[in-house]
Amino acid sequence: MSTDWAGVYRETFADLVRFLHRKVWDADRAQDLAQEVFVRALGQDPDNPRAWLFTVAANLARDEARAAVRQRRHLTLIRGDAEQMTASDPAEEFEHSQRVEAVRRALGQLSERDREVLLLWDAGFNYEEIAEQTGLAAGAIGTTLARARRRLVEAHEALEKRDVAR
């Protein structure tokens, strides 16, 4: 039986965009990549459509990150995010962009594996799905997530303290 991609799209698109956004840090690009993932999905019939989508999304995002344009895109992301905000207060926009930047930098201090596990959990994957996606043992996901969360929080707090000290 072929996959009902329209149904999967409705259920998964927003999670996929958030997942991608935390990898490419560009709201427009995340939307674009998420659509691209579904374009590639058409005609495919994987056993686990959701897992398939996130695998393709992760690979697309990785390629994206490797491209030299990442820094440029990051500059546009803040613009893009700001455009999505309803508030037009420049101070509020600045604060939002600072918030995004802090999370990006904090996540950047995690190992790739820890970051991937954390983002998959955040995207709604359960432990078994994360294990399947990453190749880790299901029994190791709790430990990996605990470490990833602790490092994220510590890195984020350290960045906040540094910014306050300036």
């Binding site: 799209y9 958030r18 999505q84 918030r99 996540l107 432990y127 709790g142």
Partner: protein, 364 residues
């Protein structure tokens, strides 16, 4: 039980809402251990804080365009084939089909007795080389020399072969990239391909005849050589055609497989370029079943990695690598052969040679 470790506490918080026998022991311990209750509270706070941090990175709202937008985007795109047939046809990769099979090409040897330094290694010459290597003849260099000297017959011959070779190559490629259903008999030659081959044969101009080819004003000795060269070219064409028919009856067929199956066939995990999406893993449908093909998506361009255990190539790996180098120097397309672990890999993609080499270098 002893104190619960941090991973268990996070797993309990993440999964513990679903009643399970797995958590009964943890819950019993938590009920009796104040230390672990405190650590559970810490884990809960950490979990919530991490979620809040991630949540702060947005996007706050995600507009979901209608699914029609995806369909429209897919529809506006040129249908993606595994490889662009037109480009491949232009590249003249008929001989690479044998490469795709792997052992077929590698085992046939690599010498190309007809190739002169100024003669590019086109698909036609490659295929001719395969045929002639299979039936070696000591007079082959002399024949080639005669053909070079005979300008008119040579030109006539060249005007015939490229059209046929590209058409036949296209047809062969079409079959090469078909993934056949498991149940399909491998010896079934699709009628469409047979028809196409017949059409190609009918459409191509007849090889120059002994009477018509030589220029009337040519000296008698040259005329005799020309006639001899043309006659031998005709024989060669006939052999090529026979080889084509034979090849067409045993098209390269791939059956969709998976990583575990491929690992069994290769004796080690199939090799891939890290960080590039694997679109599909196939196994070959013929021969000893040790051939594996991995397709990876280079953002719209497919990288094909045909793989075979070194042990199945009977010591011909060095020849294969050497032959590949000469092919790379001449052909417009790119296909390179490398060895990783106990596997020979043939990488092929419609990208620059440098890019392909770079990708190959990334394969651990």
């Amino acid at each position: 039980m002893s104190h619960a470790d941090e991973g268990t506490l996070h797993a309990y918080l993440d999964q513990g809402r679903q009643p399970s026998e797995d958590w009964r022991e943890v819950e019993d311990h938590l009920a009796a251990c104040t230390e672990c209750q405190r650590r559970l509270d810490e884990a809960r706070a950490l979990r919530e804080r991490a979620a809040a941090i991630l949540g702060a990175s947005g996007p706050d709202t995600v507009p979901v365009p209608p699914f029609d937008a995806v369909l429209a985007r897919a529809g506006g795109r040129r249908p993606r084939r595994i490889l662009s047939l037109n480009r491949l046809t232009a590249l003249g990769w008929a001989a690479s089909i044998a490469l795709a099979v792997g052992v077929g090409w590698m085992a046939r040897g690599t010498l190309n007795p007809l190739r002169s330094p100024e003669q590019p290694l086109t698909s036609r010459t490659s295929r001719t080389a395969l045929v002639d290597t299979a039936t070696p003849s000591p007079s082959v260099d002399a024949r080639a020399g005669a053909a070079s000297a005979a300008n008119q017959p040579r030109a006539a011959f060249d005007s015939v072969s490229p059209a046929r070779s590209t058409e036949a190559a296209a047809e062969r490629l079409r079959s090469a990239y078909e993934v056949v259903p498991e149940a399909r008999p491998t010896d079934e030659a699709p009628a469409g391909r047979r028809d196409a081959l017949q059409q190609n044969a009918a459409a191509e101009p007849a090889p120059p005849t002994a009477q018509g080819a030589p220029a009337a004003a040519a000296p008698q000795a040259k005329l005799a050589r020309d006639i001899g060269a043309v006659a031998e070219q005709r024989e060669r064409l006939a052999r090529e055609r026979a080889a084509e028919v034979e090849a067409d009856q045993t098209p390269v067929q791939w059956i969709e497989s998976d990583s575990a199956d491929a690992a069994t066939r290769l004796g080690e995990k199939p090799h891939t370029v890290p960080g590039v999406a694997v679109v599909r893993i196939d196994r070959d449908a013929q021969g000893d079943g040790r051939g594996v093909r991995v397709l990876q998506d280079l953002d719209g361009v497919i990288l094909e990695i045909v793989q075979r255990p070194v042990s199945t190539l009977e010591g011909r790996v060095e020849d294969a690598l050497a032959a590949d180098a000469s092919r790379m120097a001449d052909a417009a397309g790119v296909a390179i052969t490398v060895v990783r672990g106990n596997t020979v890999l043939m990488l092929r993609a419609s990208i620059s040679l440098d890019s392909l080499r770079s990708l190959a270098a990334r394969i651990p």
